[in-house]
């Protein structure tokens, strides 16, 4: 059976076959043999090609969270749109609130020309001020907040778009 998982902007593709208690999995052009043994509510022993890996698993709706060796991976089940939209994803940097907090200062205004790494907005949360920077060259296309606003996690703050398409 074919499956996909999305992590960040990346889509991972798998081929999975079940044989008894063993799962035969193809992923990234490699083949794996895996078995999953439950220990308690969220704790599992995954035996991967004979080696034991301790993983903790949480599944909620369309998201699957895997804890392994101290790192937490949040996978999502991708929608059809995810798969097609991925190719055109470049050229836009939508900055959203990395945690609930307060906007200290919006440093730019719509239309400003921005270089990669340039500061866009200063937010404060948990007593630390952080300057959020653009990850691309481009132009500010949208600003959703103003100085002093309180924002929730994931709230949209500011968008930078490049006009590569027009240039090229």
């Amino acid at each position: 059976m074919k499956y996909s998982l999305k992590i960040g902007k990346e889509i991972l593709n798998f081929n999975l076959a079940e044989s008894g208690e063993i799962f035969n999995i193809e992923f990234n052009e490699k083949k794996y043999n895996a078995e999953l043994i439950k220990i308690d509510s969220n704790l599992y022993s995954m035996i991967l090609d004979g080696q034991t890996c301790t993983v903790a698993i949480k599944k909620e709706g369309k998201s699957i969270e895997i804890f392994y060796k101290g790192d937490l991976f949040s996978f999502e089940i991708p929608s059809a749109r995810d798969k097609s939209s991925l190719e055109n994803a470049s050229g836009v940097d939508k900055i959203s609130a990395p945690m609930p907090g307060r906007v200290v200062k919006v440093l730019k205004k719509v239309g400003d020309i921005i270089k990669e790494g340039e500061g866009l907005i200063v937010v404060e949360a948990m007593k630390m001020e952080s300057e959020l920077k653009s990850s691309i060259d481009g132009k500010v296309s949208e600003i959703s907040v103003k100085d002093g606003d309180t924002v929730d996690l994931g709230a949209h703050l500011i968008t930078v778009e490049n006009d590569e398409k027009e240039d090229s």
Binding site: L12, L48, G70, E124
Partner: protein, 498 residues
């Protein structure tokens, strides 16, 4: 001894103090904000009182309300922990006025050592070596001139600061004014005081601190040093004792200087004298923390001295139970601060609910944790979940043990720095003790998750997906009804070697 102590704090340090009190037969009173009603410290204390809203300014910072609770519950002592009111001289004074012991130094000692500028003056008068810098706070104009005099790199620091807030490292003149303004703005919002001072930035510095303990009879001892050079956002994340970079001679010298400084202000209780040290063991006084430190357990583990219990005993008026010559170092200890933060994203805090957690156990491991399944990290408080401390017979043994313990630690529901810490214990430069406060910046690869771990997690993820909506479905419950099993054992088919 005290009959009942109020713990004016929350989280792991409140739990740490409750444990010490229980072992001393002292009753405990917890206070809690609305956000902490279901916290472990509330559960572990003998009594608990709500003191207000979730913001510290609504609850844990309102000294007079806390004193009101202490009087109502008939407490004879208040332990402030660290942070919150622990270095607030007025609060210490108010406790005493209300005939409740403040378990810490005198209000005067807090006042003298709490302000960075006054404390520098005292250190200077006690001939403690100081980093070259401005003599006190400066105006913007003076700051620019001072920056030119001192040279780059330099540090801008909030006078009233602590914990990295209102602090900025500046490498060149063109960044100076911008950084100055941000530091002042942070200082203003954090401490309601935008005064800053400037000092030389020591290259490849190590953060070394000396733990001291004093009683009310004029005795002060030191419990050797801790190295706290592994920092992110100017805050400590891994500490160890003893320091692998401090020679026996320097250790003795620093210890004696710390004791001299403490005696200068008639210090009693636990305190820490912080130094910055270069790679040639030149060290300069940074500041004194007039309270118990987050990282006190590593000193406890190498000396066998229970610092919190000693604080309580000396505050009650007992003489120190230990003499300097009897204090020795046995083995090596390391502490990791397990935090809800994302090392891959500039260590930004990751509020949320730790839905499932598992602590490491076994030989030489101590977990001072406030975690439980369902523990919520809010933006009101520090994102520290736990302090994981290990002891080993030497540094290498301790590092291997920490790696093992980190490997056993599980936190689901929010990102933590566990993976980063895991990789740190395998990093050759860490194992070789090539430490300075810029260590993390120099080893950015530690911040990223290895590809292999993503692959393994992805495979676990796809099996979860395949096995249906409920993870329960992939469970093959190993439970047996043994006597039934025996009856049918011949017919059972096994995936066995035999």
């Amino acid at each position: 001894m005290y009959k009942k102590i109020l713990i004016a704090n929350r989280g792991e340090i409140a739990i740490r103090i409750i444990r010490a009190c229980k072992e001393l037969n002292i009753k405990t009173v917890a206070v809690y904000s609305d956000a902490d009603k279901g916290s472990l410290h509330v559960n572990m204390a003998d009594e608990a009182y709500n003191i207000g809203g979730p913001l510290p300014s609504q609850s844990y910072l309102i000294g007079k309300n806390i004193i009101k609770v202490a009087k109502k519950a008939k407490c004879d002592g208040i332990h402030p922990g660290y942070g919150f009111l622990s270095e607030n001289a007025e609060f210490a004074e108010d406790c005493i006025k209300n005939k409740i012991d403040f378990i810490g130094p005198s209000a005067e000692a807090i006042r003298l050592m709490g302000d960075k500028i006054t404390s520098r003056d005292i250190a200077k008068s006690a001939k403690v070596p100081l980093v070259p810098g401005t003599e006190g706070e400066v105006s913007n104009e003076e700051a620019v001139q001072a920056a030119k005099d001192i040279g780059f790199p330099l540090m801008i620091k909030a006078s009233a600061g602590g914990g990295g807030k209102g602090m900025r490292l500046v490498h060149k003149m063109s960044d100076f004014e911008n950084s100055l303004n941000m530091a002042k703005s942070e200082a203003k919002s954090a401490f309601n005081n935008d005064a800053v001072f400037i000092e030389r930035f020591v290259q490849e510095p190590r953060h070394i601190e000396i733990q001291i303990l004093g009683d009310k009879h004029g005795n002060v001892v030191h419990l050797f040093e801790r190295e706290c050079s592994i920092q992110r956002r100017h805050q400590k994340v891994v500490e160890e004792a003893p320091s692998p970079g401090v020679s026996k001679k320097t250790r003795e010298l620093m210890g004696n200087i710390a004791v001299k400084l403490a005696k200068k202000v008639s210090y009693h209780g636990a305190g820490t004298v912080e130094f910055i040290m270069d790679q040639k063991e030149n060290f300069y006084f940074l500041e004194m923390n007039t309270r118990v430190q987050v990282e006190h357990p590593i000193t406890e583990m190498i000396t066998g001295i229970d610092i919190v219990k000693e604080m309580i005993k000396v505050s009650y008026g007992e003489k120190l139970s230990i003499k300097q010559k009897d204090i020795t170092i046995t083995g090596h200890a390391i502490e990791c601060r397990i935090c809800a933060e994302d090392p891959g994203n500039n260590f930004i805090p990751t509020p949320g609910i730790a839905s499932y957690t598992k602590s490491p156990q076994g030989p030489g491991v101590r977990d001072d944790s406030s975690l439980f399944n369902g523990y919520e990290v809010t933006t009101f408080y520090d994102p520290m979940l736990s302090k994981l401390i290990v002891w080993g017979k030497d540094r290498n043994d301790a590092i291997k043990r920490m790696a093992r313990a980190l490997d056993e630690y599980i936190v689901l529901g929010l990102k933590t720095n566990l993976g980063f810490l895991n990789r740190l214990m395998d990093e050759k430069d860490f194992i070789d003790a090539k430490l300075d406060t810029g260590f993390i910046d120099k080893h950015k690869k530690l911040l990223n998750t290895p590809k292999e771990n993503l692959s393994i997690s992805a495979i676990a993820g796809v099996i979860t997906l395949h096995s249906g909506i409920d993870v329960e479905n992939i469970s093959r419950d190993p439970r047996f009804t043994p006597w039934k099993y025996i009856a049918r054992r011949v017919s059972i088919s096994r995936n066995s070697m035999f």
